[in-house]
């Protein structure tokens, strides 16, 4: 683990001498090969929420979680690569908000820049919090650092490391580290899956142990009540597959920034497509461990679940419930009194978030265990670093340069970028502690993210593919879409939830079978309202001159010249290949 930290900072130092202009710092000088960007592209997204959350849902819901990858990411990644990247890369915009200013106007950009900056700070704070909490729960530094300081030490240590390498090497350093993290994550989790599968008797063994709805991704999707997610296929395809995933992968600067660092437009278009290939197979690395964890029965030798329980000295053997298998998943422990948490019916609550960490402790002997834990930490850091680099760019270009100091020299902006990095990390630490102190803030933040993100894609879609769209239209559409999301959330409620944080704070007019269904439908409403309002207002206002929009709108931009490439080098060929593998995967696990 120490080796890893040394390398991480070493890269920062090695790259420091290449950071001469702000362009080098924020856009990596636009000189990174496509495959490196592609790996960074998924690694930046592979943060804490991803690894822990997907392992947890794998354990809780089953292979159906892979929809978040196969429906919720791949089509959007193919779309952004084939259709949208030429505008981001070709318009010479340096960030996504800057593209909005070039295409629409200043106010649309301001809304996007500010909401994005705030969200990145909070998500990197959440990442930090989750990591520190995990280190504390697993007792990694137990015996080295006094218990009550572990949380603080973890927060500050991770902050300093991330700060160090970004401060020194900017985006290049972040991208390089993300590639390292990607390989480490694969190297750490691949043997885990292999040994785990051997233990439970392969995929067939999992199928025997678990109920069938956990091993088939499409079974029961016709109706919400017959599958584990509680979502019907319309909500899944439209909400997750179209609005939410396109809104994230096509407009979030966090991931787009990686593609913008590529060395040419063709490379930039290939970035999300290359990223899509490993992304498709990630369910096997992060969801399968969750499934294996619930398949493993407790008579295995040396159950580490007991190790974790030992602190509470409960040592109980809970009978395996056929309906909700939990395997080696430990019970949730109340951090205050150290007692197992019980739900309202008096049943123990299982802490699915620990699915992957527990798997690591269960199967890895000393030695490779260090690698596994390093991989886990690497995933946290890559998510954090991604947010910090996106924050410093948006802050410097879209907030500082746009509104505070318009005439600084390039060296000044480079300096500002470094300061913004420090500022972003400090704010993230603040956010991490805010999350610690208020129990509900995590839910609230995720809610705010979904409400702000949901309507965004409509704005970009119209902006890029309809030249008539105007700045006023985009701005009002964006605001109306966000408002629609809020109102929809206020009027609906998932069943078995009380009005309040989960919705229904205006009045309850509709019940959804699960909060996931509610979330998807909120996105669908926000998207539709934004679409309609943007079109309406655009038709009523005066469009911009067509000459101003060349390079920004599909119909006015010359098609990228690909004549010199052989067919297998073209992004579209890659895209078709990616989609073909996707269909095969869906059929295999249908």
């Amino acid at each position: 683990m120490l080796v890893y930290f040394v390398f991480v900072l070493g890269i920062g130092f090695a790259l420091k001498r290449y950071m001469r202009t702000s362009n080098d710092f924020f856009l990596a000088g636009r000189s990174i090969p496509a495959w490196v960007c592609g790996l960074a592209f998924i690694s930046a997204n592979l943060g804490a929420q991803e690894v822990i959350g997907m392992g947890a849902s794998g354990a809780k819901y089953g292979i159906i979680t892979s929809h978040f990858y196969w429906i919720g990411a791949i089509p959007a990644m193919v779309f952004v690569g084939v259709f949208m990247m030429p505008f981001y890369y070709g318009s010479k915009a340096r960030s996504v908000p800057e593209y909005l200013r070039m295409r629409f106007d200043e106010k649309t950009r301001a809304v996007n820049a500010f909401s994005f900056a705030i969200m990145t700070v909070f998500s990197s704070g959440i990442s930090m919090y989750a990591m520190a909490l995990l280190i504390q729960t697993l007792g990694l530094f137990h015996g080295i650092i006094p218990d009550q300081y572990i949380f603080h030490v973890s927060v500050f240590l991770s902050a300093i490391i991330v700060l160090g390498y970004i401060f020194l090497g900017g985006l290049t350093s972040a991208i390089y580290n993300e590639v390292l993290q990607f390989f480490l994550i694969v190297a750490g989790f691949a043997p885990l899956v292999w040994i785990g599968l051997r233990n439970v008797g392969g995929w067939e063994g999992i199928k025997r142990t678990l109920p069938t709805n956990m091993t088939h991704s499409w079974q029961g999707m016709a109706h919400a009540s017959t599958n584990t997610l509680g979502v019907e296929w319309v909500g899944l395809a439209m909400g997750l597959g179209f609005v939410l995933s396109f809104g994230y992968w096509c407009t979030d600067f966090l991931v787009i920034q990686r593609a913008m660092a590529a060395d040419s437009e063709v490379s930039a278009r290939k970035v999300p497509l290359i990223a899509a290939i490993p992304k498709m197979f990630f369910p096997f690395l992060v969801i399968l461990p969750g499934l294996i964890a619930v398949s493993v029965t407790s008579h295995m030798a040396g159950t580490p679940a007991a190790v974790i329980h030992s602190r509470t000295a409960s040592g109980h053997a809970v009978p395996l419930d056929e309906q909700h298998p939990h395997g080696i998943i430990p019970q949730k422990i109340d951090p205050i009194n150290g007692q197992p948490v019980l739900d309202t019916n008096g049943n123990p609550v299982y802490n699915y978030d620990l699915a992957i960490p527990v798997m690591l402790l269960h199967f890895f002997p000393t030695g490779i265990l260090g690698l596994g834990l390093t991989a886990l930490l690497a995933s946290f850091m890559s998510g954090m670093a991604g947010n910090v680099t996106a924050f410093n760019t948006v802050w410097t270009y879209d907030i500082y340069q746009a509104y505070i100091n318009k005439k600084g020299t390039d060296a000044h902006y480079l300096w500002m970028g470094r300061m913004a990095t420090i500022g972003g990390v400090v704010l993230s630490i603040g956010a991490a502690y805010a999350v610690t102190n208020f129990n509900n803030i995590m839910d609230a933040l995720q809610l705010v993210f979904s409400i702000v993100n949901a309507p965004l894609f409509a704005t970009f879609l119209l902006g890029m593919f309809w030249k008539r769209t105007t700045g006023h239209g985009a701005f009002t559409g964006l605001i109306a879409g966000t408002a629609a999301a809020l109102v929809h959330h206020g009027l609906t409620l998932p069943t078995d939830a009380l009005p309040g944080m989960h919705g229904g704070w205006l009045a309850v007019v509709h019940h959804y079978p699960s909060d996931m269904a509610q979330n998807f439908w909120t996105a669908i409403f926000a998207f539709s309202v934004n679409l309609v309002v943007t079109i309406g207002v655009s038709l009523a206002t005066r469009p911009r001159e067509e000459a101003d929009l060349v390079g920004l709108v599909y119909s006015l931009t010359p098609k990228p010249a690909e004549g010199h490439l052989s067919w297998y080098q073209k992004p579209s060929a890659l895209a078709v290949g990616v989609l073909a593998i996707l269909i095969v995967l869906n059929l295999v696990f249908a």
């Binding site: 001498r17 000189s31 040994i195 040396g302 199967f363 002997p365 030695g367 490779i368 690698l371």
Partner: protein, 84 residues
């Protein structure tokens, strides 16, 4: 960029893979350590795999170093004068 990513990538895998293999070699007779992984010496096998991967990456990175180096002239540019 002047630094090919494959070099640090190779180095880190060489280092970690090497350490794991050596640890695996020393502890290969120990039944207690490998009880968890069902008697398979994961340290030795996976460490060796990582070591080989690291070696391949490192060598490729070294061989192709000139490709990504902005300062030293590329092979086909040599003799045509000073760049930048």
């Amino acid at each position: 960029m002047g630094l090919d990513i494959r070099i640090p990538l190779g180095l880190i895998f060489l280092a970690i893979g090497g350490m794991m293999s050596i640890f695996g070699l020393i502890t290969r007779g120990s039944a207690t350590i490998y009880e968890k992984s069902m008697g398979i010496n994961l340290n030795l096998t996976w460490g060796a795999i990582m070591f080989v991967f690291g070696l391949v990456m490192f060598l490729i990175g070294r061989r192709k170093k000139w490709q990504d180096d902005p300062v030293t002239p590329r092979p086909w540019e040599r003799g045509t004068g000073i760049r930048h």
